[in-house]
């Protein structure tokens, strides 16, 4: 079952490379995505057991990430078919292939129970995204790709060192191991100093992938230059995978008795990321860069939730899902606006609600959702995190949390409203693009999901999240 999950997209990407026609190739995506989703649901439902001597296993948090990834990919797949119709100027062979390959790698991350294996999968996911960012072949996109590659590779290298440290810390008791199960089993015997250093390195390494400040610097550039769908997958998929990795590592470290250290570190990083995002969203003119910083903020919230622990773990996991879907909504609608106006700067984009009633409105609503307005999903998770924070008497942290959320709201709101309200500026070039079924339907569906997450969380999903939170609870 697990192998099938990985093989479906892997083979599909191979097929995509071989397919001759640019016109028909995109149509490969939706069926593959659907198939992957179906299989994933079955696998999640069946609690399929471990493979490769425990290297591959869908642990509860893994299931969440897998589900998120699969659903997000279905949405993006449908959107991509519509999107590539407007990009017949260039071959989409690499584009489609890399998308599918990314799905495979992400799936592997979700089920990898071995630090090394997880690292490899993560690196492949990173690399498979590079050509997508470079899709537009402009000078700016080259620069973005370059920065993305260098910072990402260095970060991932640091993560590798961290994994080694982790293994080394276990050498005190028998042979070193990188299997989570082993590490958990021998948690109490791990060497404190090395575990801490390992955690720091892994935090920085995978934090680079998540885009935590100050390792976030690639994010605005990459998100700004990549096509909207790639941004959606980066912000919703890749970051979630990295977050999953951090959660597992944190799990081990807590079991090793470093709970206080790790939680303080994560809270600090979380608040730092939120603060940096807040500073840079103020007066941001570029809607895609704005979304990138908002993603930085969301990562900060995730870290905060995970750092505080307890029921916030529940909140954080829930927020991971909400953030993933909502980011999808935002990036896809921003992509539509970008295409219609040939620009993503507030100097030139006005009156989106008039020219693109659907995308404009959904962009606006998505903004409200991501900034934590009821009745959308992120509100529920953020409110959960806040409640828990106050429950554990983190009064000042919570106050700061609220304050930073407000600043981000002000920063983003100014930009979003400038874009969606008013009339389109006269004399600006307007492309022929208008909302179509293939580029509009995914928005509506994902917005529906966000609304559902905010008003009625399906019982099985809630159970999954709960199980994941319990799984990651530490009982020393």
């Amino acid at each position: 079952m697990l192998f099938i999950l990985i093989l479906i997209p892997l083979l599909a990407s191979g097929v995509a490379l071989l397919m001759p026609s640019d016109r028909s190739r995109p149509w490969l995506l939706p069926p593959v995505a659907m198939a992957h989703l179906v299989v994933a649901l079955i696998a999640i439902d069946r609690h399929s057991k471990a493979r490769l001597g425990g290297w591959l296993w869908l642990d509860p948090p893994g299931r969440l990430v897998l589900l998120l990834l699969s659903v997000l990919f279905v949405i993006c797949a449908v959107y991509t078919t519509g999107y590539l119709r407007y990009r017949e100027d260039r071959s989409n062979r690499v584009f489609v292939a890399c998308l599918l390959f990314f799905l495979a790698a992400g799936t592997l991350v979700a089920m990898a129970q071995h630090l090394g294996l997880m690292w490899i999968a993560m690196e492949f996911a990173t690399l498979s995204m590079a050509p997508l960012i470079y899709f537009n072949r402009t000078a700016r996109s080259i620069e973005a790709t370059w920065k993305y590659l260098m910072i990402g590779s260095v970060g991932i290298a640091v993560a590798l060192l961290g994994s080694f440290f982790m293994a080394y810390s276990a050498m005190g008791s028998g042979p070193p191991s990188l299997l989570f199960s082993d590490l958990m089993a021998r948690a109490t015997t791990l060497n404190a100093t090395w575990v801490r250093m390992a955690f720091v390195l892994l935090l920085v390494g995978y934090g680079t992938k998540m885009g935590l400040a100050p390792m976030h610097t690639w994010k605005p550039d990459a998100y700004g230059e990549a096509p909207g769908v790639v941004g959606a997958l980066l912000a919703g998929g890749l970051t979630s995978c990295a977050f999953l990795a951090l959660l597992r590592i944190n799990h081990v470290c807590c079991a090793a008795g470093q709970q206080q250290f790790t939680s303080h570190l994560m809270i600090f990083m979380g608040l730092l990321s939120m603060a940096v995002a807040a500073i840079f969203t103020l007066g941001q003119k570029d809607i895609k860069r704005m979304l990138a910083y908002s993603s930085v903020e969301q990562m900060g919230i995730l870290m905060l939730g995970a750092g505080i622990g307890g029921i916030e773990l529940f909140g954080a996991l829930l927020h991971m899902l909400n953030n993933g879907i909502t980011k999808g909504v935002l990036f896809l609608s921003a992509g539509n606006i970008h295409r219609s106006y040939q620009s993503k700067s507030t100097d030139e984009v006005r009156g989106a609600m008039r020219r693109l009633p659907l995308s404009g409105t959904i962009f606006m609503i998505g903004f409200l959702a991501i900034t934590g307005s009821p009745p959308f999903g992120p509100f529920v998770s953020e409110f959960t995190i806040l409640t828990g924070g106050l429950q554990d008497h983190w009064y000042w942290i919570s106050a700061l949390f609220l304050l930073l959320m407000l600043v981000v709201f002000i920063g983003m709101g100014r930009t979003v409203l400038t874009v969606v309200q008013g009339r389109p500026l006269p004399g600006r070039p307007a492309s022929a693009y208008r909302d179509r079924l293939l580029t509009g339907l995914p928005l509506v569906v994902s917005l529906g999901l966000v609304l559902m997450m905010g008003t009625h969380i399906p019982a099985p999903l809630a159970a999954m999240v709960h199980r994941a939170a319990v799984f990651l609870e530490v009982h020393p």
């Binding site: 690196e123 620069e143 370059w146 920065k147 590779s153 050498m171 090395w194």
Partner: protein, 213 residues
């Protein structure tokens, strides 16, 4: 046994310092290749008895770090018809001093870190740390794209050195996977470098600052 390891490690250290000082691009590439080759021999020395897996891994490593990657870099250097000097942001001497300082610090740090298990040599950790630091120095202080790639290689080497301590933990599959990643990474990067040349007709990363707030 330990003696050979230590001496090799010292050589690695010297290579690091040399690279910080190197002014010619070719020399830099050769040094990196040499370091890679040296490192890839170590597992053979450390292994209790030569099993074929270790041999395979070592040979692949040598092939990759000694031949393929230098090839790629040389090629990239060739089609970029530009002068072959390394352009540092801060001079060679200061970077060398920084590197030396880093080495000292990593020695001190390693001395204070608790020893776990029975390491073959107490030089492994400090050398790997200083190598990593060297890599970072190259990454942050050199402006040419290729130089930064080399810096990334050195960083990788440093991590590889640390890997010596836990050969048992890192099965050959993972080793190969890591190598494959390294290869693909370098490959993709070289493509991008190629495009950078095409577009900017230079490899100076200082020109890559169009994306700004």
């Amino acid at each position: 046994m330990t003696g050979t390891i230590n001496s090799l490690l010292v050589v690695v250290l010297l290579v690091n310092l040399f690279m910080l000082g190197a002014s010619r691009m070719r020399g830099l590439i050769h040094a990196a290749a040499a370091q890679g080759v040296i490192l890839s021999f170590m597992p053979l020395l450390l292994a209790a008895r030569l099993d074929w897996i270790a041999v395979v891994v070592a040979s692949v490593t040598i092939g990759l770090k000694g031949l393929i990657i230098p090839r790629i870099l040389h090629k990239a250097l060739r089609d970029a018809k530009i002068k072959r000097e390394v352009e540092p942001m801060i001079g060679f001497l200061p970077t060398m001093l920084l590197g030396a300082l880093g080495t000292v610090l990593s020695l001190v740090l390693a001395a204070h870190l608790p020893v776990v298990g029975h390491p073959v040599s107490n030089l492994v950790i400090p050398v790997s740390l200083s190598t990593i630091l060297t890599g970072f120095l190259l990454l942050t202080t050199r402006v040419k794209a290729i130089t930064q790639v080399i810096g990334y290689l050195i960083l990788e080497n440093g991590i590889y050195i640390f890997g010596m301590l836990l050969l048992a933990a890192v099965p050959f599959l993972v080793e190969l996977g890591i190598l494959l990643d390294l290869f693909v990474g370098i490959f993709v990067v070289s493509i991008i470098i190629h495009h950078i040349n095409q577009t900017f007709s230079s490899m100076d990363t200082r020109q890559l600052t169009a994306l700004r707030e």
